[in-house]
């Protein structure tokens, strides 16, 4: 691992990975051993590695899997998530978008905006709602350093101050939101994949069919090219942003949130985006309308 200037054997690699996750949790004060943590699980290498590491570190972590209704991809990922939960001896809560709203392929046709945008809104909404209903105090997602640095790059290229203000590994509890954390934010995708493989985790390798051509992948590839020539770039880009720039942006945050008049979930509008989506579905004669 050139950006850390070390080379490790299998056993010490696993130890290194778990220690790094623990250090990240402590540095950003994410949670303690007393908290009930809900891990957002997709069946992929990051979420399963995260859940595995948290379990090994002695944290109380259960999983939430949201079936997006994307054919074989969703079937396979749900199956792997369930098998993994069994191997850990922990609970996996499963919810299906089809039962709550509609599946992603139908929504994508209806909404005429990128599938990732609709999907992201719904996942965040149901993660938050489920965590509250199930009594969890923290949501942990498997966002890694490649995800965070690619997001940062995208937001900087457009100077999207709103998103930059909210890009932090810990989003505090408040205004109806459960605390949300990213314990893998200093771990690269390759490190996460290696940990999964060396730990014998059976994860989904197939990519979401809607992710083809996503700008996030383009940014990741670009950053990887820079990283190859200059190891440590991604970590520096992300960490220095958190340390130097983020505090300056946060001081000017003026976001006002209130409960949605229909479901009570936090929103800046009168009716939240998910309830508005459900209204559109009802008008078009589709969806569960719940």
């Amino acid at each position: 691992m050139p950006h850390h200037r070390i080379a490790l054997c299998k056993e010490h690699y696993i130890e290194w990975f778990e220690r790094r996750v623990e250090r990240t949790i402590r540095e950003f004060r994410m949670f303690s051993k007393k908290d009930r943590i809900l891990v957002a699980v997709s069946g992929g290498k990051d979420s399963l590695s995260l859940w595995h590491a948290l379990h090994r570190l002695g944290y109380q972590a259960d999983g939430l899997y949201i079936n997006l209704g994307i054919g074989e991809y969703s079937n396979l990922s749900e199956e792997k998530a369930k098998k993994f939960a069994q191997s850990l001896g922990r609970t996996l809560h499963v919810i299906r978008l089809k039962d709550l709203v509609e599946d992603i392929p139908t929504l994508k046709e209806m909404e005429k905006r990128p599938a990732c945008s609709v999907c992201g809104n719904l996942k965040r909404y149901y993660m938050n709602k489920s965590a509250k209903e199930l009594g969890f105090s923290v949501i942990a997602t498997g966002h890694n350093l490649d995800d965070e640095s690619a997001t940062l790059m995208g937001n900087v290229l457009s100077w999207n101050l709103g998103y930059l203000r909210r890009q932090y590994p810990v989003l505090k509890e408040g205004n109806g939101f459960v605390k949300k954390v990213k314990p893998l934010c200093l771990i690269t995708e390759k490190e996460s994949a290696l940990y999964a493989l060396l730990s014998g985790i059976d994860f989904v390798e197939e990519e979401c069919p809607y992710s083809v051509g996503a700008s996030s992948i383009e940014y990741k590839l670009l950053l990887s090219q820079i990283e190859e020539k200059s190891p440590g770039t991604k970590l520096r880009f992300y960490l220095e942003f958190l340390r130097k720039i983020q505090p300056l942006l946060r001081r000017e945050e003026k976001l006002e949130l209130k409960p949605c008049s229909i479901c009570g979930e936090p929103t800046s509008a009168d009716v939240c985006t998910v309830c508005r989506l459900k209204q559109r579905l009802t008008l078009s004669g589709k969806g569960q309308g719940s």
Binding site: D146, A150, T188, K190, A193, S211, K220, E228
Partner: protein, 87 residues
């Protein structure tokens, strides 16, 4: 007078080894061909247009370094860690 030249020709037979490698990648099986009887993990990644920054090779169940030689018949899996979208 017609002069006919004759040449003493020696024929060289050159056998080029082509190895076929079955690679498992993202849940699918692919077959790649390489010259010679072995190929470095680094060259396999190059042939698949993948960077060592985000990809690595597993041979017979073990993660291998870039200079590792893969032979025909080895069980090969290539992992591309880059995932689409966020989270």
């Amino acid at each position: 007078m017609l002069h006919v030249a004759t040449y003493d020709a020696t024929v060289f037979w050159v056998k080029i080894f082509i190895m076929k490698l079955r690679v498992q990648y993202r849940g699918k099986q692919f077959e790649l061909e390489f010259e010679g009887d072995k190929v470095k993990a680094r060259d396999l990644l190059k042939a698949m247009n993948l960077s060592r920054e985000y990809a690595f090779v597993v041979v017979n169940g073990e993660v291998v370094e870039e200079d590792f030689y893969i032979k025909e018949g080895d069980q090969v899996r290539v992992i591309n860690a880059i995932s689409g979208g966020w989270g």
